[in-house]
Symmetry: C2
Subunit: 293 residues, 2 copies
């Protein structure tokens, strides 16, 4: 990696830290401890489960409890047991809490407006433009890949998006065969693997590897639309190949629909070459294979 790139990123970090405010200044300034402000922010207008709050803020349960008690005492939130699991609790903003959050939000808007104000409209637009692009790249670099069990709710959510999208794109539409649920359920080593892409806690992509007679078959490669064009499909594919390699496969195969031109380009540029039909997938028009070294 180029050393200049590292120092550039560090330099940028210094600049924005200095300008936007040393720490998470977006949470201070309403004469309330930062942790309380952040808690209010994380609870949000719709409220949130306490365990999710603890998880997202990485808090000790005792500390979290005390923060919630303090906000409750200030009349900003209410906390009630969840109906479906009365051990767990759900925190919601009161009207006063809503007002407080809106006020904090307005203050943050003002702080940001003060940063943009000195720039002329052209440079203002340019700054927001490059930051939008930088944000996407930074998010892309934060995406991680992990093999998960077929029972994962996150995978189910991804696959739902995936099938939905196929239905919209395929000229013939797409109806998942009834066998799909069973097929997914069988994707556990050594007969199958499911790879999940996550951006922080959010599932943003998936892909599966199925053990066939004498090759591995890659299917259901999907990346969330808002993260496309960032090279994540290629990384996901590479991760799947890595899983296949470790599992001892020497050949990988996959198929694709004629409507998915980008997917075909990805496979070709990743070392896959087109072969004859090897399965009876009625939605497939092209079949590919790659030998692993």
């Amino acid at each position: 990696m180029h050393l200049g790139q590292i120092s550039q990123l560090r330099s940028f970090n210094r600049a924005i830290t200095r300008r936007i405010g040393a720490l998470g200044n977006r949470f201070v300034g309403r004469d309330r401890p930062m942790a309380e402000s952040r808690m209010l922010y994380e609870i949000g207008q719709q409220g949130q489960e306490v365990r999710r709050l603890r998880q997202r803020m990485a808090l000790d349960s005792g500390y979290a409890s005390r923060l919630l008690r303090a906000l409750e005492h200030q009349g900003l939130i209410t906390v009630a047991p969840l109906p479906e699991d009365r051990r767990a609790r759900f925190a919601s903003l009161t009207d006063a809490g809503r007002r407080e959050l809106a006020e904090t939000d307005r203050a943050a808007d003002d702080a940001v407006a003060d940063i943009l104000a000195p720039l002329d409209p052209g440079r203002r637009a340019r700054l927001t433009g490059v930051l939008a692009e930088a944000e996407r790249l930074i998010e892309a670099s934060a995406v991680t890949f992990e093999t998960v069990a077929p029972t994962s709710r996150e995978v189910a959510a991804c696959l739902e998006h995936y099938y939905d999208e196929l239905d919209r794109h395929f000229a013939t539409g797409f109806i998942p065969p009834p066998s799909v649920a069973e097929e997914i359920a069988g994707l556990t080593p050594p007969s199958g693997w499911i790879l999940l892409a996550r951006l922080y806690d959010e599932p943003v992509g998936c892909g599966t590897l199925t053990a066939q007679a004498d090759f591995g078959e890659i299917k259901r490669v999907w990346i969330a639309e808002r993260l496309r064009g960032l090279g994540l499909s290629r990384r996901l594919l590479a991760e799947l190949e890595n899983v296949a390699c470790v599992a001892g496969f020497s050949r990988l195969r996959l198929d694709t629909n004629e409507s998915l031109a980008e997917a075909q380009a990805l496979y070709r540029s990743s070392g896959y070459h087109e072969i004859a039909r090897f399965n009876d997938n009625p939605y497939a028009h092209h079949w590919f294979e790659k030998r692993l070294t």
Copy 2:
């Protein structure tokens, strides 16, 4: 201002905060309080005056003193009186302190490298590229303008750069006339004003306004090279016009050398029109005037 721009910047801030590490995480992780780490960083390889450290970190003198004692006690720094003012003290790193700072630095490099690593080389270059541009724009937006006294050392530093640059650019070279020091010294209201541009504490530009018989004369408009192309000269000029307006001038005049094409373009696009020679400046080739409303 466009509301989308504000939310874009806030969104970016969340993204980078999340990725780079909530607070100035570049200072933690060496199991040492953040304030001590930051102090080490601010002292730097060349050392620093204690009063400057206090100023830059905005610390209570008692707190600063304690931090320095702690670092001294750990054998990381030494603090000695300044020879020229034995009230003030100067903090320097010991060899151990130097090693510690280098180690912290390396850790920060590693953290940043981890962020860039998942991206392919093209996107990595693109990210650092857009962040470099964003950094310049953010710095530009942080520049402030202030009228200062002619005795200011900051102004002297700017003017030195300015004259140096004229000497390099003018076909004939440039030698400041002997009267210059006296002229600068006279720039106090109501006969003159000096405007200084600052980026945080650093002087990055200047401009002067001199009261003449029946007009105000703008001279010595200069912006540091590293901040050019960011619209700062235009802002500086506008600020000078503002000063002139408040002071009651109805006309402004200025001159410029033929070699300074950008300056001429700036003046024309800022409402100045070319007039006949109005002074005997031997280095001037163009003379401009603008009527203030």
